[in-house]
Symmetry: C2
Subunit: 195 residues, 2 copies
């Protein structure tokens, strides 16, 4: 047999990416085999190669898509009037965006070492772009003397690291609502950079 009933090209591609995303996040890129992904999709391993040239491209594709979507989503957030308001908007955005995609976030941070050198360069560049956006807000706030931080680069990384931490513990059935989490974190971020 070949080409099982009801199989359409438009459905297998996404299914592969979804399965790879979940499995890579759960077990790690190196620990997941192409056969494992194929099984999850309901297909033989060879069929995957109609959708990706190799395993590495599959990983890179997932990470690049995530980073591009992240940047696009942030660009789509209306630009607030003050640096303080922009930082608040960023805090909320970052938390929510990351909590909606725990697997992609996990992969984007943990599987960098499994990327080819060229692929790594691309992803790193996308990450730097995103970080620079945040640093821009901080710099502006420092100039206007609404923020006081000795080093905007470090502060940027510190804020992002702090916010990323949410993904390690937040559970939607948990004690706090998303709004509460956002409020708590905004309180800390705001104070941490305040003048």
């Amino acid at each position: 047999m070949a080409r099982t009933q009801g199989s359409h090209s438009g459905i297998t591609g996404p299914k592969i990416r979804e399965a790879a995303l979940r499995l890579f996040a759960q077990q790690g890129y190196a620990a997941v085999s192409m056969r494992q992904i194929a099984k999850e999709v309901g297909v033989q391993a060879g069929a995957l190669y109609n959708y990706t040239p190799d395993k590495q491209s599959l990983l890179f594709n997932l990470m690049e898509t995530h980073m591009v979507e992240l940047q696009a989503a942030w660009d789509a957030v209306p630009r607030a009037d003050s640096a303080l308001e922009r930082l608040r908007a960023f805090t909320g955005f970052h938390i929510r965006f990351h909590l909606e995609r725990p697997d992609a976030v996990f992969i984007a941070y943990m599987e960098l070492r499994n990327l080819t050198e060229e692929n790594f360069t691309v992803i790193e560049s996308l990450r730097r772009d995103y970080e620079n956006g945040v640093e821009g807000i901080l710099k502006e706030g420092v100039e206007q003397e609404v923020f006081r931080i000795p080093d905007t680069k470090i502060a940027t990384l510190a804020v992002i690291a702090m916010l990323n931490g949410v993904n390690t513990w937040y559970r939607s059935e948990g004690r706090l609502s998303l709004d509460e989490v956002e409020t708590v974190y905004w309180g800390m971020v705001q104070k941490a950079v305040s003048a």
Copy 2:
């Protein structure tokens, strides 16, 4: 040939742990083979099994040692008088301890998913102990109204996440000295939890 010249048991064991630590951190547990570790030590793969029952134990041993040492080192830091001073001491301690062992830190945070269920439980418990120590400081500060934070558990995780971020960017040849880094982070931590 067997038992090459000058080989002593006291030297191969540590060499294996060092090689495994470095390789696991660089490439990930699943991506590193026993033969690769053996090559780094200058020995055949089979010889590793005189020092570890299997690959999993090697990983677990590294992680457990790291967590135990972390706790012991923090316990050895003299207890400061006020909650504020204790938090400052913790900030400095945590940054320095982690920067001295980037590989072990990386593994302890990234390879949890490659642990057996029982092994995972042990490591998680050790981590919780460490976190609880920090939360104790925050709780005390809140009671004495020197800190104001809506949720000490979240604040604990946020502070630790922020501090852990140092390891992703700090280079000893870089722009800032260790003391400067410590000062900058302490400034942010202090403000973030301040009343």
